[in-house]
């Protein structure tokens, strides 16, 4: 079903190639590394740039029906995915790990989203700037839901009341969510004039920073592959078919909501992506009983490469076929 032209078109872009280079470095036992906090610089930058750009575009387009549809469908998806993921996993896993993985897959992966945007840009397929807003909105609900599912299971509710405030803080004021949301807002407030002044940094510089960040992601993902052996084959498989399932849900919702091809791909990718930044940080505090050596490598070392290398062109092939 996947169009080989699209696949190649995706695989042979600099960002994807740099990701592969990073993985290759680990397999060749090269000592190449990007020392901390440089990866943090690029991750902060990407959130800032994508948020700001999305904001200026949202300001430009205004709150049209299309925008509302995109945001609504995104939010809906962010509430459905954690639920079914949780119940699927509960058959094999304890509550803590199920809930943490549910939150991971229910939330989004900003870099996967950026890769999809870049891919659309390359193919010249238009998409709405408001999808960034959808992304920003979709980051937190899965965190809340995951923790609610877990606490509901534990019934006893050993939580002192302050806990919920803490949880919402974790979910909404988490560093990466905060920067993304804040940049989006600032983009909306400053609009055209802001865009002009930041264009060189936010647009021109973007692809290069993405390459660098993906190089680092490749290094980290490859290093984590070993940890995954511990996770067992059920979870290894899950890390591949969960994005497929979630993308399918995203595509179905996009079709129902009547989104365009570009927006549909972005929605599929928001569904398919699994968070390895915001959610792990939040889960660590809120469900310390879950094992981060399971949910982080699943998202980072399998789902992320799968989406970036194969998933994005695959979802687009399907969408093009369904939409035509």
């Amino acid at each position: 079903m996947i169009d080989p032209g699209l696949l190649l078109n995706n695989l042979l872009t600099p960002p994807v190639l740099f990701f592969t280079l990073g993985m290759a470095a680990v397999f060749c036992k090269s000592d190449l590394e990007i020392p901390q906090p440089l990866p943090k610089l690029f991750s902060l930058y990407l959130l800032f740039a994508i948020g700001f750009k999305g904001g200026t575009e949202l300001r430009h387009s205004g709150l049209t029906g299309e925008v509302v549809a995109g945001l609504g469908v995104g939010l809906l998806m962010a509430c459905i995915i954690p639920l079914y993921v949780y119940f699927i996993l509960r058959s094999k896993l304890d509550a803590a790990n199920s809930a943490a993985i549910a939150a991971t897959y229910g939330s989004i992966s900003a870099v996967t989203f950026i890769a999809a945007e870049t891919f659309l840009g390359k193919l010249g397929i238009p998409y709405g700037g408001h999808m960034v807003a959808a992304m920003a909105l979709m980051e937190s609900p899965a965190i809340i839901l995951g923790v609610m599912l877990y606490r509901w299971q534990m019934t006893k509710g050993d939580g002192d009341p302050a806990d919920w405030g803490e949880l919402f803080r974790e979910a909404f004021f988490n560093g990466s969510v905060f920067l993304l949301m804040g940049s989006l807002l600032i983009g909306m407030i400053t609009g055209e004039s802001g865009k002009e002044s930041l264009e060189p940094v936010v647009v021109d510089f973007f692809k290069g920073a993405l390459c660098f960040f993906l190089l680092d992601m490749g290094l980290v993902a490859a290093r984590r592959l070993k940890d995954l052996m511990r996770a067992g084959s059920f979870l290894l498989g899950f890390a591949i078919w969960a994005p497929l399932l979630n993308a399918a849900v995203g595509i179905a919702l996009a079709k129902l909501a009547g989104l365009g091809i570009g927006d549909a791909l972005l929605l599929a990718v928001l569904g398919a992506g699994a968070s390895y930044i915001a959610v792990p940080a939040a889960m660590r505090h809120s469900i310390p009983e879950a094992n981060p050596s399971i949910y982080v490598p699943m998202a980072l070392a399998i789902t992320f490469p799968f989406n970036v290398l194969i998933g994005i062109p695959l979802y687009l092939s399907i969408i093009q076929w369904l939409w035509s």
Partner: protein
């Protein structure tokens, strides 16, 4: 020169804030924090190579009386239990200056 206890805590970076707050509540006279440490233990490797601090440790040093050392090690137990880490207590001599330093003079 005054004999004191040296309490060394290696804890998950995500817990640093809570632990420092706990130390301040216990009214320790001071502490020192080295934020970036990697490690290996029962919970596997923590390589500190991600943008999130989930797989990172921090190192905290507190010099205090034996009683305070006791209190601290009680206090941090739950965090170390949940998030992993080590708490060591050893002996040292604190060669500390008098308390008459200038910055104390309120303006």
């Amino acid at each position: 020169m005054r004999p004191i206890k040296k309490v060394e805590i290696i804890c998950a970076s995500v817990e640093v804030r809570k632990i420092l707050t706990a130390l301040e509540k216990l009214e320790v006279s001071g502490y020192t924090l080295i934020r970036d440490a990697e490690g290996m233990g029962d919970r596997g490797r923590r390589l500190a190579d991600e943008v999130t601090d989930v797989f990172k440790n921090s190192y905290i040093l507190v010099c205090c009386s034996p009683e305070m050392a006791e209190k601290i090690s009680q206090k941090v137990q739950p965090s170390l239990k949940k998030f992993g880490g080590v708490c060591l207590v050893s002996d040292a001599q604190w060669i500390r200056v008098g308390e008459d330093h200038p910055e104390r003079k309120e303006p």
